[in-house]
Symmetry: C2
Subunit: 216 residues, 2 copies
DNA sequence: TCCGTTGTCATATCGCCATACGGTTATTCG
DNA sequence: CGAATAACCGTATGGCGATATGACAACGGA
């Protein structure tokens, strides 16, 4: 992922490629959040990022690449933030449930920042139906999250919090789908605080047992 | 689908306004399903509907109106299909749960037709973030469905299927959100049959009790 | 020092699309 | 029968936006 060749041979005028791309992606994200997906034009993006149209082209061959990269960075950021804790679920001897709930809660649009984020993700999701590359990226990103959750559920089985006969892949997908639905609900109806407890309930039903095998 | 009014000559003075608008909306829906939202242009829509650009303009002042009307008709159709049964939940003496589950199942993309439908709805949902009129229409449509569900849950309370201390408005919203998440999941992963049982489980948890007061 | 490469910019091009417009046909009503 | 009117068509227009192009600047290497 980060193994980009770095392009560092005896070349002149070395700029930080990744930083520039991040800068542009940041501008795109802001534009989507403010004006929607259709509000994104190469010209406006350049202006927002404080650079020229030509430079944007220099870093992204096509507008589509630009959007895709924006989406990728955004998802990576969300995943990093969300799953930072969840990934070591079952290692600390604490109940996995108690690690998972706040982690997943992080995905809900509970403040302005995350509402903006949701807005952008929603716009991307809408385009995914007509943009195969975006659809693939979305799928990949979801698969990754599902993998992390499935592992957490697997750990739950090992330590007795989860009953043995659940299919962790299914349950991970279902949990993620539920969280997504709740996020959608909260986006359009921020007052529905019941969504938060619904999330907790879901996780609680998944992890009903006590933690029998706390790690040292 | 094939019920295009065929415009028999000899009726030009007064044409069936609503039928024409339906015809155009139908074309729009097909275009979105086939080529995505951005694939919809007035010209292509006219071609698809077998009429001229000018005529489309004659029936819709603006492209936005055209799209909005398409969305409205689509949602109405889905609601009608879905809630036809659910609305008389608790009247026949049958368990409400057993009426609600197949009704809500209807919203899941379980066959090609509904996958196409989902595709279109997803595209619309994506634009709703940047289109206030669409957002409002979506909200209104959801509210309506929530109302129907809330009433069903209320009936459940009356006849003992639902415990008394649930908030039916909250539960209706949560149920709908869950169904939406599951629909999304199934769209991208049609093989996840666990989604269907998840829906049934949710409803079953909501309606745990027996039906004590069957109507005559 | 000078060459080649890369970073950067400004502007040109070219297609597409929503909407505007003017014309034609065919009813209905008086 | 003859306006008046609504359904309907084809094309013009004007703007916007992605991408192409060509020029210039800075810097590393020989």
């Amino acid at each position: 992922m980060d193994t980009v060749p770095r392009y560092g041979y005896g070349v002149p005028r070395v700029a930080d490629h990744e930083a520039r791309r991040r800068q542009v992606a940041e501008a795109v994200e802001q534009l989507i959040a403010d004006d929607g997906y259709d509000g994104v034009t190469v010209a406006r993006t350049a202006a927002r990022a404080g650079i020229s149209v030509g430079l944007v082209q220099h870093y992204f061959a096509t507008k589509d690449d630009m959007l895709l990269h924006t989406f990728t960075l955004l998802r990576e950021r969300v995943e990093r933030r969300t799953m930072h804790d969840a990934d070591r679920a079952g290692q600390a001897g604490e109940r996995i449930e108690h690690i998972l709930v706040p982690a997943l809660r992080e995905m809900l649009p509970l403040d302005e920042r995350r509402r903006r984020e949701r807005r952008v993700l929603q716009a991307f999701a809408g385009r995914a139906v007509e943009n195969p590359r975006l659809a693939e990226a979305l799928r990949a990103s979801d698969s990754h999250l599902e993998g992390v959750l499935a592992r957490a559920i697997g750990n739950g089985k090992l330590c007795g919090e989860v009953v043995d006969d659940v299919n962790e892949a299914d349950e991970a997908a279902l949990l993620l789908a539920h969280v997504d639905g709740l996020a959608q609900l909260l986006y359009f109806d921020p007052a529905r605080s019941a969504a938060e407890s619904a999330l907790a309930d879901h996780v609680h039903r998944l992890f009903p047992g006590p933690c029998n095998h706390p790690r040292p």
